[in-house]
């Protein structure tokens, strides 16, 4: 799926610049490069995020920004992996009334684990999430639906059902995240991965159009710790807008995300807290509409 582009290793930070290991450039964002490589063991695939030096920025400022963003992402990921098991200051000894209940184990498996980082050099390694992005999965599913030829009604229903399940998972996981006191800041279907279940055979996991699997949130570079309903509503609004423009054919089903967010099994925003956020979301939408009318 990912083509192998020759990677210029000497542009990687130490110690990767002299590494004999393979690197595959998976994504190139505005601020960062993401490589698939190995870490700690040759058989352990890992995701290496590098924030290269920005030549046009003042070096001191650039260093500070790189450091801040690498650390922000790593801190949130580690905090989330300790949710429900950490007993120190990072954990939740004092119960915050605005925090929901996530239960022991917290977000384990729903975010990548941090394996290493160097905030001076500007790199972060997390474990590799198999599968692909939710965006790709939805595209694939919609293609294979179109490709069945005769659009059998039963087949279509099954697809909608699968998609609904996936959207519900999205709502539940975002609900859990918010209940942990974190807002993501950049929720899109490219910042969510769909990892095939461990028991799924390789062949079926990659099978055409399957929407089965565990949802994993990635890309916490803009995440912040917040329990404000406003921030949570904006997080959902960003997702809603991104979803609508990336998946216009599926847009009508987005309501499932919000429904599961506020009442889904396993969601951390069950009950009153979730409802308040959804009410706020209506205000945020309103403001968004006004702004786009003016702009």
């Amino acid at each position: 799926m990912t083509e192998t582009t020759p990677v210029l290793k000497d542009r990687l930070p130490i110690p990767f610049n002299t590494s004999p290991e393979p690197f595959t450039l998976v994504a190139q964002g505005a601020e960062s490069l993401l490589y698939k490589t190995t870490f700690l063991s040759p058989s352990q695939p890992a995701a290496l995020k590098v924030r290269p030096v920005k030549k046009w920025r003042h070096p001191t400022l650039d260093k500070r920004l790189t450091r801040a963003r690498i650390l922000a992402e790593a801190r949130v990921l580690v905090k989330l992996s300790g949710e429900g098991i950490a007993t120190g200051s990072g954990g939740r000894k004092v119960k915050d009334p605005k925090k929901g209940d996530v239960g022991a184990g917290g977000m384990r498996g729903m975010v990548p684990a941090v394996l290493g980082l160097d905030w001076e050099q500007g790199w972060l390694v997390t474990d590799w999430i198999e599968g692909g992005t939710v965006k790709e999965a939805i595209y694939r599913a919609s293609r294979s639906r179109a490709g069945t030829g005769v659009p059998g009604v039963g087949d279509d229903e099954a697809r909608v059902e699968e998609l609904t399940q996936l959207l519900r998972k999205m709502g539940e996981v975002v609900g859990k995240l918010h209940a942990c006191g974190v807002v993501h800041g950049d929720l899109t279907t490219s910042n969510m991965m769909l990892r095939p279940h461990a028991t799924q055979a390789r062949s079926t996991s990659t099978s055409e159009g399957s929407l089965d699997g565990d949802l994993v949130l990635i890309d916490f570079g803009l995440a912040t710790q917040s329990v404000s309903e406003e921030d949570r509503a904006v997080d959902l609004y960003v997702l809603e807008r991104a979803f609508g423009s990336t998946h216009p054919r599926e847009e009508d089903l987005f309501a499932c995300v919000l429904e599961a967010y506020a009442q889904g099994e396993g969601s951390g925003m069950k009950g009153k807290a979730g409802k308040t956020v959804l009410r706020k979301l209506e205000d945020v939408r309103m403001r968004g509409r006004k702004k786009s009318m003016v702009g």
């Binding site: 110690p15 290991e21 190995t38 063991s41 580690v78 992996s81 007993t87 941090v114 290493g116 050099q121």
Partner: protein
Amino acid sequence: METIVLPHLPGQPLQVCLFANVQNAQFLRQQLLDGNANFEYAFLDAAVLLSRQHVLAACFRAINDMLQGRLKSKNVHSEIVFSLSPNNNISESFRRFGVSETTNHILAIKVGGDQAQVEEHLRQHVEGQMVAFTDGALAGMRDESRIRKAYKVDIASVQADAFIIGSMALKGS
């Protein structure tokens, strides 16, 4: 005895040897305290080790910090011990993760060196049984209450590995 080459660090192979039921922990500790140049090892108390990955994450951090000229302790071997700690207190990290008088099982690590020579030297000086360095062996040596205390977690199983390894990686930030 095993030689482990960490991905990305081919120039710093690790000679790793796990010993069960060590009888002379006090002697080994004394060699480190005396700065005996023949004992350039990280001697870890295996009771506080969660998994191979846990140990290798500490080794990677220590070697990377060495390559960057950022060692906080004497040398790369003491730095491996320190790297296991989630906080910046060096002497506490030696007490918690290093060999002590009461240590039963020891993981010995040497950065660099020749496998045969290291093995011979350890066989001569460590009074214990060499066992394979596996997650299973570590699980049998583990003292969960010490791990819970060291990392401030309420479970000491692989369920906590992401938080523990992540906390080590973030130390000093």
